[in-house]
Amino acid sequence: MAAHRCGLSLVCILIFSTPAPAPARDQFQEELVIRPLHSGDIYASFQFRTLWDTDFLQERQKKVSHYRLFPKSLGQVLSKFSVRELHISFTQGFWRTMQWGQPFIPSPPGAELWVWFHHTVSDVDGNWKELTNVLSGIFCASLNFIDMTNTVQPSASFKPLGLGNATDHRFLRYATLPREIVCTENLTPWKKLLPCGSKAGLAVLMKSEKLFHSSFHSQAVHIRPICQDEQCTSKAWELRQTLNVVFDHYTSGQGKKEWSLFKMFSRTLTEACPLASSSKVYVDITDNPELSPATHLLSRAVVLGDRRTYSVYDLTRAETFGQLRSFNLLLRWKGDNMLRPLLHAERYVAGFGLQTGEIHTVIYNNHPYRAFPVLLMDSVPWYLQLYVHTLTVTSKSRDNKPSYIHYQPAKDRHRPHLLEMLIQLPPHSMTEVTVQFERALLKWTEYTPDPNHGFYVGSSVVSALVPSMVAMSTNFTQDQPLFSSFVPVKEESSYFVRVYTEPLLVNLPTPDFSMPYNVICLTCTVVAVGYGSFYNLLTRTFQVDEPSPPLAKRLANFIRRIRGVPLLA
């Protein structure tokens, strides 16, 4: 009897106890790449990657609620808005491709946000609007200025970087805010998303007083689903937080090609992030700089079509920090040779006056003998009315007709222009794309408080598969350094490059802002003059003008009328 009761209670316990949660299989890696540039500037690129083996969008599984390394705010955003891919970047400064080469992860000035939604979403625009507002709160940025007047749906330029073969561009939204300023208020919440925060690991170097005292500063968040192995049997979510910064040779470096971690960040590294499975510092030594402390760990990688050699410092090993328990890197170099970037683009506004203008986009192909196609995407606000019949593409002073043009004209106050073209660039040439536009006069409430500053036009995006001089490896390994695995390499002979041009600043004609009441009065006066003249002529008839008698006579007549006596003449 007792045994039965015991057994029953055991069964009850077994039934009513909740099953133990599956162990969270997530992983965090951090790395810093330091690349000396030939102009004396130094380029530092931080990448923090969290891989998490879960599925936010599957309905069968229980709703994800146990977050460990992956930030909860972003996870909730992904599941609430059914986001498949999210890329957001905040950039201060413009990347000078001709002086600095190609960045590991390109970004345009200001804020850029592009999102692929899941194909189950029914109201993409509604989700997009809410998403921008939520992200605006998470990153303390004014992303709420993103609305339908500056959002486009590119058809070919922004293919998913992660998994996913659905290429219906109705689920893609792209917006850019060229006027957005990046400052400490944006860096702080970005740092909070890291598992170790800014207390341990590489993130201790990210102090705003030095980071913003630079030529270029870009922080970004990229979330996408990826394959975990070659055969893609299991999928995982990858969150990459990247921070690219270029320190200026003259203002921060005192004019010497000699840099150290302390000089760049005013901090040194003391320990790796305990939650990280790998924490490494890579220094580009292809041009043989002097490096101290020396290391024997070397890594060779082909990145952006160039074979480079890196010294590797593993921060998870205690001997990297030496006896002082602090790691400070010293770098000195002399060389002046630089790899000329194969693809480069510029943009400017031509013309004079406030009525018309021309946008010129110049794309350079510096490959000596190979021609390759590029996809140029232009998103122009509605108040610059583009005339697509004036679009000309010339290469080497001959007409070069694009093979694919996708043009969506703007609707006033609803959506911007979207122009995407596939242009074949001849080898070693300059291609110029020009299009004329007219400037609109806006309503006085639609101008910013500083209307004579001008209106920003977002950067053009040039995307291309550039033929590589060096064979790239398409092998998939888990130990690849992060900077070389951001963009998936599909073939050996070319690599994907995205170049952003400068944003444009265009002046529009302005009305006089002090005059609304005056204008209303004056115009209504003219209309009233018209009305009055016509009213007079329509309702009155011509009569002979009999002058009215003087007052005395009128009074006399009045009295006479009372008396009943005949009136005066």
Binding site: Q408, T541, Q543
Partner: protein, 435 residues
Amino acid sequence: MAAPLTLLLIVAVTIRAVLFRSSLAELISERVEVVSPLNAWKRVVEGLALLDLGVSPYSGDVFHETPLMIYLFHFTVDYAEIVFMIADGITAVALYLSIQTYNKNVFRKQKYALESDRYPADCLELLRSPKEMFYIPLKVAMFYLLNPFTILSCVAKSTCGLNNAIIALFIFCTLKGSALLSGILLALATYQSIYPLTLFAPALLFFLQRLYIPVNLRRSSFWFFTLQYAFIYVGSLVVITGLSFFLLGSWDFIPSVYGFIFSVPDLTPNIGLFWYFFAEMFEHFRLFFICVFQINVFFYTIPLSIKLKEHPVFLIFMQIAIISIFKSYPTVGDVALYMAFLPAWSHLYRFLRNIFLVSCVLLACSALFPVLWHLWIYAGSANSNFYYAITLLFNFGQILLVSDYFYAYLRREHHLIHGLYLKKKDGTEATLVLK
């Protein structure tokens, strides 16, 4: 009279051809006084280019022409200059023939009235003689063809020239008495820009007068003819709109063309009153003032028709003038159309009160428009208020011109009934006032 007209046409074509081939053509087609977002040639070319790219021209906010324009220019875009010169020629010839017919009618009525002794004795000097009326049609054609406004409009290839041609043909058909053609052409003119809708009333009055049907709302003959004419007009309008639907397969053109004309979203400066008013309008009142301004164009029709029911041709002139002044996107081409009629009223010269002032104002404003535009947009030393002021003055001058001619017309009619030399009760010379 064919020879002088042909000579005039040759001279006009020569001037236009010379200007087409010169470098001024580019400059003129950019001027905001001559082209507006509704009728610019650049936008027609843009619409055709969008159609070639596979995008509907109405999906953006650049193209605001009707589908029949697409159809017309799809085939003739390479010969556009010839098309616009032919349109100007058609307008001039149509106006010439219309005024000729009108003068014949006027002279005939005057003869009958003289024979039945309807005029007082002292107003014989107000009567018109064939000698005086002989050159008027030629002068009307000349006023249209050699008017700098028309030449500018033609060289800029503004589709306003085509609209003017349709309205001139409508006037011609009305004066010739063909109700069917008149209804069809009026429907076409309304389809192009909505404002010629107001010309329905004068055309109807003309036909009623011609067919000796009294304008009495209680008589069935009045309603019978009105309904016939309205049926022709509305029927043609429906057919034309239906044809436009089948051209592109969608109703997109209705908000793009008519919605655009009515709601004035584009605030590009022009010679009208709308643009700056709505650029400075408080958002809250925008809809109210749009309605007020649009009603302003249409609501003079009924009062004017009542006052001028015996004089439908003058009513046509008044209506065209009111449309040109108060429409949402006026250009100088619209102004040129009603100015062409002025020689037909040259007998009113003695009663015009402000003609010198008005002509000085209009000349000065026409000269100042490009100057102040340059100062605002290119030199940056003036602001939009300068250009706006000249706009106000130009419209004020036009209003003064039209109301002056109206006053003179009414005054002449009054004198024809009551005599020219009026005396007060005590025998001294009287002055006439409006009371």
